[in-house]
């Protein structure tokens, strides 16, 4: 305990400007294919939506011009946000932690120190298999909202990352 053995644990004061800073330039962007993956999954959704609209058009007296306008409007908005927002997504690996950032309109950045990681796993969806992409999920004891998921990594790269994290985590356990 800290107060019992002050000589065992050194804790020199650190000036705020000497603290290690998380630099925004050091983030690694995700694979380009991940953008295509996201666009195709949206594409599938919009395709299904179009089918529903067509069925509604033939069975009810849906006004087709306004519906089509709304449909294209939403589609254009989603695709624009995805393409522009893709630049924001990225991760960075430091000696002691891993950070992921995402979100154009609603930015979110989470950092997980390696000495707080509970476990780490690799996951790959059906579309991911198609594009040869995988995600690395990092779990801490901080509840479900705090877990970190880095998507859009090449499968091999994801495996390396997972092994790297697992190895580092083991040194703290």
């Amino acid at each position: 305990m800290e107060q019992e053995n002050p000589e065992l644990f050194e804790n020199p004061p650190v000036a705020p400007d000497q603290l290690p800073k998380l630099e925004m330039e050091h983030f690694i962007p995700l694979e380009r294919e991940y953008l295509y993956l996201r666009l195709s999954s949206w594409g599938i959704l919009f395709f299904l939506l179009l089918a529903v609209l067509l069925v509604l058009y033939f069975t009810t007296d849906l006004p087709w011009l306004p519906s089509l306008a709304v449909y294209t409007g939403v589609l254009a908005l989603v695709f624009t946000l995805e393409i522009v927002g893709f630049k924001v997504k990225g991760y960075t690996l430091r000696k002691h932690d891993i950070t992921y950032k995402t979100g154009l309109l609603f930015f979110r950045m989470t950092s997980v120190p390696f000495n707080r990681i509970q476990h780490c796993e690799l996951s790959q969806g059906p579309l991911g298999r198609l594009f040869d992409l995988a995600s690395v999920n990092v779990y801490t004891a901080g509840g479900s909202g705090s877990d970190l998921s880095i998507s859009g990594l090449e499968k091999e790269q994801a495996q390396q990352l997972r092994e790297h994290i697992t190895k580092l985590t083991a040194t703290y356990a």
């Binding site: 290690p20 932690d97 950045m109 120190p113």
Partner: protein, 507 residues
């Protein structure tokens, strides 16, 4: 005290265990039996021409015999570094737990156990995939001895870094044993009957009323058809009249709701916090309380994730605060793993904080306040639904439109007060977050107890250079809204530095 626990041979419980198991069975049976009663009332079924009492008698007798055999077949013992529990009459159930997986050993007494002078012992496991491991009836001194033995065995099996932790649990336990013999230390806080009444009367009645309503509703409507059947004729003809009398009935039912809710929170408080004794020292916190079920909990100091204290408008008047000591746990088990002490005075709060957060006395605090964007966003989101409802309702009765400015003014006032209350201060080692106007609450956490950090920024915040900062701890998230982005980034980096450079165990 029996120090010769011969645990290598299978042991039985105290013979009173028959009674304890019987009443436990009876409670399960009663749930089944109630539905039979309703079916009986509803349709006059005949079970081999037996009366209701006859059926009840047979069921009771059956359970008495069952309980006896359940008692006879219930064993616990130690085998190869494991604690084993065997039970079950028809289907044998064998539960095994290695010593190093034992998380905690707790004693508790429900009213039957209190009357019979026996104690239940419960073993919590790490990663609780097992069913709970409970021995329902042991002599009090035997239970203490067994509790101590299990914790000692756990200690011997564990690694070095956990030793300190276990020392603390064991010394807490010794304290509890002294207390059983009436020699214990003076508790930091004890609630008398008067305190209990005051705590009960100042509960959040709206909340307890709604809980009661939900529970009763859920329970009663299982038997909907049987309850409503006798009244069916009346219900149809009175439906119209009820509408006419609605103006009278609504205030009466609101009044009734609050009377019942108050009574309910009073009963709940007495049941839960009867004879509350709260002990705190450098090693951790311990609490015993309860009327029907007397329970004992302790949290060793390094398992404490953060401490929360809060109040409500009624309690503020009499100077009462509720302290909550938060322990690591999944969201589902969050309630069971945190320790709540109602009716604490300011001085007692300060004593508790001094024990566990010495660091707060250090100087050089930095502070951050929420931006007024919080007030305007809150006002907008909260007033959106009610105002649009009033707006639409006004097309039928234009008088409703006059309510809009009143409602809006109220919402704006409370949002503004809430925004003013949000406050974050931190020094080298700890962080204190305060928020709430009607329900003021504060959280105190040491930096190394943080698991990870998040920073959020919406496009509205970006223009004004603001951000949310979220501290994820093993006992839940703490959230600081709308603080200056530059300060948030600085604190973000500092927390990461503190967490990564600390080798203190967070649990």
């Amino acid at each position: 005290m029996p120090n010769d626990l011969n645990l290598h041979l299978p042991q039985r419980q105290n013979p009173f265990g028959v009674a304890v198991i019987f009443f436990k069975n009876l409670r399960i049976a009663l749930n089944v039996f109630i539905s039979i009663v309703f079916v009986q009332l509803g349709s006059r079924l005949d079970f081999f021409s037996l009366s209701l009492y006859g059926i009840a008698g047979i069921i009771a007798l059956f359970f008495l015999v069952l309980s006896y055999y359940q008692y006879r077949k219930f064993f616990f013992y130690i085998q190869e570094e494991k604690f084993v529990l065997e039970k079950g009459v028809f289907k044998r159930d064998k539960m095994t737990i290695p010593f190093d997986r034992i998380q905690a050993v707790n004693l508790s007494q429900n009213i039957i156990q209190q009357m019979l002078g026996v104690t239940a012992l419960k073993v919590d496991t790490a990663g609780s995939k097992f069913k709970e491991m409970e021995i329902p009836a042991l002599d009090k001194s035997y239970a203490r001895a067994l509790q101590k033995r299990l914790l000692e065995l756990k200690k011997e099996s564990g690694g070095e870094e956990e030793q300190e932790d276990k020392e603390e649990i064991l010394s807490e336990l010794n304290e509890a044993i002294l207390e059983d013999q009436g020699l214990g230390p003076e508790p930091l806080l004890r609630l008398g009957l008067g305190d209990l009444l005051r705590v009960g009367l100042t509960e959040n009645h709206l909340r307890s009323g709604l809980i009661l309503f939900a529970v009763v509703n859920g329970y009663i409507w299982q038997f909907e058809e049987y309850i409503l059947k006798p009244f069916e004729n009346y219900i149809d003809s009175t439906a119209d009249r009820i509408l006419t009398y609605g103006l009278v009935l609504v205030p009466i039912s609101v009044l009734l709701f609050f009377v019942i809710a108050t009574l309910f929170s009073l009963i709940q408080t007495v049941l839960r916090f009867f004879q509350l004794r709260f002990y705190a020292n450098e090693k951790g916190v311990r609490m015993t309380s309860g009327l029907l079920k007397k329970a004992e909990y302790h949290i060793p100091v390094n398992k404490i994730q953060y401490i929360k204290w809060g109040s409500n408008p009624l309690r503020k008047l009499i100077g009462y605060k509720t302290i909550t000591v938060k322990q690591a746990g999944s969201e589902a088990a969050a309630d069971r793993r945190s320790l709540q002490i109602p009716g604490a005075k300011e001085a007692q709060l300060q004593t508790v904080l001094d024990f566990f957060f010495e660091e707060r006395k250090k100087e050089h605090y930095r502070e951050a306040q929420a931006h007024w964007l919080l007030a305007s966003q809150l006002s907008f989101f909260i007033s959106f639904l009610p105002v649009s409802g009033l707006l639409i309702g006004g097309f039928w009765y234009p008088i409703i439109w006059y309510a809009i400015p009143v409602v809006t003014a109220c919402i704006v006032f409370f949002s503004f007060k809430y925004y003013q209350s949000v406050h974050l201060r931190w020094n080298k080692d700890i962080l204190v977050l305060s928020k709430g106007f009607v329900y003021p609450r504060s959280y105190i956490i040491k930096f190394y107890k943080v698991q990870n950090v998040s920073l959020k920024q919406s496009f509205l915040q970006k223009r004004r250079g603001l951000a949310h900062l979220i501290f994820h701890s093993a006992a839940g998230d703490l959230n600081m809204p709308h603080m200056p982005y530059v300060v948030a980034r600085e604190l973000y980096d500092y927390i990461l530095y503190r967490v990564e450079s600390s080798d203190e165990s967070w649990m």
